[in-house]
């Protein structure tokens, strides 16, 4: 072999290793985006190998869980309080649901999903907690119901992965779980038995639906569509065509429902305001980028994020008040933390930032190095 060939051979091997390593499916630096839950004085969020509790006032860390990262265990789903606020439920990307003490960050218990070792069971979405228990949807198509001591009550299997938090319906006294198998399932929270199942809604569903006071369940689907189901008749009340996949959860605000879609190949995402009862468009805007999470309504203003790294603030007539750029990508919903607005950017030096009413950063976590 000549020197040239030897050199080329080594270069090829090095490039092959780099090229493959750059996109390894084995260990992903960030697989999801941060889930944030704010309480009175503390904000809890999950990002990567740990979940954190920070002071809302100044962003100082109260605890991190686990204290030291465990290899291969990641947290992305928003921490969920039990109804008595005594436990904080954290779901992982590796087979486990944990309960920790919200004050100390110490572990109460953990539940491990039986796994066949072929692949990890990921809890992409945050669990729902009600008086009946903890309901954790998983990527292995199963909704797990646990009691408050971490014991399995029942499980319900759908056809495809569950990426959305189930929601509670006062009207039907049941939980609704949407699935990537295109269906919505109404389940009895006590027994896990199926009460009813929607027709095929046309595409995968990855975000929780919203329920209106009039009993409409509004569902975003990847079939470029938002569908409203009537809770009583269980049939479709209206459909609304979006331009691209409707990923984010709808948000109901009085007589309006806000929905959105992600960016297409040649098209930015669109944010729509529809009339809740009819699905008629009231207004729409395209601020640039795709929209992946539900908006926040606070003090008469609508806040939503885009993956073009901006926080968009709109009034209820659809007039943009502010389109504020940030470093990194914004996939997660903005969260209200007292008089502050909390944002969890991805690919940024900060995992979490707090803004005041004018959009000025009050603090960031982790703190900037001096």
């Amino acid at each position: 072999m000549t020197k040239t060939k030897k050199f080329l051979f080594i270069i090829i091997l090095a490039l092959l290793a780099l090229g493959l390593g750059a996109c390894s499916g084995r260990r992903i630096v960030a697989a999801g985006w941060s889930g944030v839950t704010a309480a009175e004085e503390t904000v809890y969020f999950s990002y990567g190998p740990q979940a954190y509790a920070l002071s809302l006032k100044n962003g100082s860390q109260k605890w991190a869980y686990p204290a030291e990262p465990i290899n291969g265990v990641d947290f992305y789903a928003a921490p969920a309080f039990t109804p008595d606020s005594e436990q904080l439920i954290l779901a992982t990307y590796k087979n486990e649901v944990h309960s920790v003490d919200p004050d100390s960050g110490l572990k109460n218990w953990s539940y491990t999903v039986p796994s066949d070792s072929r692949s990890a069971v990921r809890f992409i979405a945050s669990p729902l907690t009600t008086d009946a228990g903890i309901f954790a949807p998983a990527s292995n198509n199963i909704l797990y119901a646990l009691d408050f001591d971490g014991n399995l009550l029942w499980e319900y299997q759908t056809e495809d992965p569950l990426w959305a938090t189930p929601i509670w319906s006062e009207n039907c006294q049941c939980i609704y779980q949407v699935s990537m198998d295109h269906h919505l399932y109404a389940l009895d929270p006590e027994s896990g038995s199926l009460l009813w199942k929607s027709e095929d809604l046309g595409g995968p569903i990855v975000s929780p639906p919203a329920i209106s006071e009039s009993g409409l369940i509004i569902v975003s689907t990847f079939n470029n569509e938002v569908v409203a189901l009537d809770e009583n008749s269980q049939g479709v009340a209206w459909r609304f065509q979006t331009r691209n996949w409707a990923w984010a959860s709808p948000l109901i605000d009085g007589e309006q429902v806000y929905i959105s879609d992600i960016a297409g190949k040649d098209d930015a995402g669109t944010f729509f305001a529809l009339e809740v009862d009819t699905g008629d468009v009231l207004w729409q805007i395209q601020p640039g980028g795709g929209i992946f999470s539900a908006p926040l309504v606070q003090d008469g203003l609508i806040y939503f994020t885009t993956d073009a790294s901006s926080l968009v603030v709109v009034n209820q007539d659809g007039v943009v008040q502010r389109n504020q750029p940030f470093e990194g990508k914004l996939y997660a919903s903005p969260v209200s933390g007292g008089d502050q607005l909390l944002l969890a950017p991805s690919e940024s030096e900060y995992y979490l930032i707090a803004l005041n009413q004018s959009g000025v950063q009050v603090w960031g976590y982790p703190p900037a190095k001096k």
Partner: protein, 253 residues
């Protein structure tokens, strides 16, 4: 440019996946064979150049200049280049087609991983590559006992056996041996021979290591591409079966 190339590969992969009843394992295998067919002219060129190079390096002229200028590397290199020109052989003839295939290997692997999209950020990424095809999501990543988005182990008596990685090592070894022409350079046991032997030994283990640690979709691709190469050499009558078994010492001496 690279993103467009990846998009093209993802969309072809998903098209095949849908066409054959949504089986991602078979989609990878068929896509690999398809890519081998498309790149056949490059492979044929590589085989031709490799054969010409072997013939030249076995020629008397080549051997003579090796002996004559063995202590004068500069002149040796110059004479070698002259001989390349004289015999119409390009020193890069067998390397360039390999280099051109390199982005295809990387692209195929990225297409496999991106199409599987088992986490939200992966699905965000996939959404930027597919204009349609939402109904194919989630991709069925189960294939026989494998989860194609994860490194593969077959549990036997409580022990995870990396079956695919073992198959990658075996097929890579057979392929490397089989495509080495008889009388390949360095049969004299010189530096060239040592390098060739090292490559034959290390290459399968390198591929096996990649198969062991990366998503099993890649291992499936390695096996499919090794088998396709072996088949290609067999069909064109250039497979060298004698090389597969280790040479035994000459007992007649």
């Amino acid at each position: 440019m690279w993103d467009q190339f990846i998009s093209l590969m993802i969309n072809i992969l998903l098209f095949i996946y849908n066409l054959i009843g949504q089986n991602f394992g078979w989609a990878i295998i068929i896509f690999t064979v398809f890519v081998r067919l498309v790149t056949y002219p490059l492979n044929a060129q590589q085989m031709k150049s490799s054969k010409a190079m072997t013939e030249m390096q076995n020629s008397k002229k080549w051997q003579d200049i090796q002996k004559k200028y063995k202590d004068d590397k500069e002149t040796l290199a110059q004479k070698q280049m002259e001989l390349y020109k004289e015999m119409g052989v390009s020193p890069f003839g067998s390397c360039l087609p390999l280099l051109i295939q390199f982005p295809i290997i990387i692209g195929l692997y990225q297409a496999i991983i991106r199409a599987l999209a088992v986490t939200p950020l992966q699905l965000v990424n996939l959404s930027k590559h597919v204009s349609d095809g939402a109904n194919l999501i989630p991709i069925n990543s189960q294939f026989w006992w494998m989860e194609l988005s994860e490194p593969e182990r077959l549990p036997i008596l409580g022990i995870g056996i990396p079956v695919l990685a073992i198959l990658v090592v075996i097929t890579s070894y057979i392929q490397t041996k089989m495509v080495s022409p008889p009388g390949a350079p360095g049969a004299d046991g010189g530096q060239g021979a040592q390098m060739t032997q090292a490559m034959t030994l290390y290459m399968p283990f390198l591929m096996g290591y990649l198969a062991l640690t990366f998503a099993s979709g890649l291992a499936l691709y390695f096996i499919a591409t090794n088998l396709a190469t072996i088949a290609q050499y067999m069909i064109t009558g250039q497979a060298n079966f004698k090389n597969i078994l280790p040479k035994l010492p000459n007992m007649n001496r």
